[in-house]
């Protein structure tokens, strides 16, 4: 269905998919900026904050409304999760985890929009390329995971002091013998850098693969308006598989948002441990 409307545009399936994988880009080379990613993520960030701000302002101590009950559930769930892992003062980390969870969840949830809808809306404004899922862009996930790295470094320094942290970097796994300083430091460096890379690649890979499977499913119904037997079967297949994948994807997007949040907390908790 969605692919059929596109029939006038891209000539074949490869073109359809490459079209959907193209960002709305401004600028050249290093300074090329994916406007769609930035716009969608900022918009969803505002939605996240607005939702919780509105609930907090209207909060009562009496019988809570549905919105307040929902927000309280989310906040409590995140707070317990953080409490289980992180044992120090969590007045900064728990709100951070809450923001990450809800924001990433909303960004992932853009995958569930009809595939061609964001592009069609963008076309009304004369924009030809529009990818709606910010987390299917490696730039977003790496930006977030590098921020998490900064948080981890902050907690390391806060717990041990700059001297203590540097001392730990050079002496941690094998011991303080000067011969072992370099191997220790290299090992710690790899451990530190592998965290943001795995964090970002996990979220990006999941969302990118999910988006691509949605595109492949959309292609099944591409020939629907030719009204042959094959195209009808393809269209029915699209409906069934699209529904199935979308339902499975609800699990995936929640899980990935949860994993990103939990790992942020776990890394921070590891950073505060003394060796």
């Amino acid at each position: 269905m969605s692919a059929a409307e596109h029939a006038a545009g891209p000539a074949n399936s490869t073109e359809y998919i490459t079209h959907h994988l193209t960002h709305y880009t401004v600028g050249e080379g290093f300074w090329s900026i994916h406007v769609d990613t930035i716009f969608m993520s900022v918009l969803l960030g505002i939605v996240t904050l607005g939702l919780f701000h509105a609930a907090a302002r209207k909060a009562t101590v009496g019988v809570p409304g549905k919105g307040q009950a929902f927000v309280e559930m989310v906040v409590e769930f995140i707070d317990t999760t953080v409490k289980e892992v992180f044992h120090l003062d969590r007045s900064f980390l728990a709100p951070l985890a809450l923001t990450i969870f809800v924001w990433v969840f909303l960004m992932n949830a853009m995958d569930l929009l009809p595939l061609d809808l964001p592009g069609k809306v963008a076309a009304l404004f004369g924009i030809h390329y529009w990818r709606a899922v910010p987390t299917a862009d490696a730039n977003t996930t790496f930006a977030m995971s590098l921020t998490v790295l900064v948080v981890v470094l902050f907690y390391s320094v806060k717990a041990k002091g700059i001297g203590g942290y540097v001392h730990e970097l050079f002496t941690a796994p094998f011991g303080g013998n000067p011969v072992l300083w370099i191997p220790n430091f290299l090992l710690n460096l790899v451990e530190l850098l592998s965290k943001p890379v795995s964090l970002a690649m996990r979220l990006f890979g999941n969302m990118y693969a999910g988006e691509l499977v949605f595109m492949l499913i959309a292609l099944l119904g591409a020939g629907f308006f030719t009204f042959t037997v094959g195209s009808t079967v393809g269209f029915l297949g699209q409906l069934l598989m699209g529904a199935g994948w979308a339902i499975f994807h609800i699990l995936i997007i929640t899980l990935q948002a949860f994993i990103f949040m939990v790992l942020t907390v776990v890394y921070s908790a590891m950073a505060t441990e003394h060796h």
Binding site: I17, F204, G205, N206, V213
Partner: protein
């Protein structure tokens, strides 16, 4: 004509690579999920009162196990539809 043969060669090798990426990744992820699921059921049968605690962790680990496979799938899909190795032929 010579170019065509080269393109076909790149495409065929890429197709084999895609099969390997997805197939081997799927084997690993499935074995991992299978082991974890069986252990979870065992633990749940032994101590049913731990189910709520274990369930959350099981889903977390399911996501972690799945992740590497899905990254592989994403990479494979990328090579299937916008093969950067073919771009050199223009």
């Amino acid at each position: 004509m010579e170019n065509l043969a080269l393109i076909a060669q790149v495409q065929s090798y890429t197709a084999i690579a895609l099969g390997l990426i997805i197939g081997l990744g799927a084997i690993g992820a499935c074995i991992g999920i299978g082991i974890m699921g069986s252990k979870f059921l065992e633990a749940a049968a032994r101590q049913p009162e731990l189910i709520p605690t274990l369930q959350g962790r099981m889903f977390l680990l399911a996501g972690l196990i799945d992740a590497a496979f899905l990254i592989g799938v994403a990479l494979a899909m990328f090579f299937a539809f916008a093969n950067p190795l073919l771009a050199r032929f223009g």
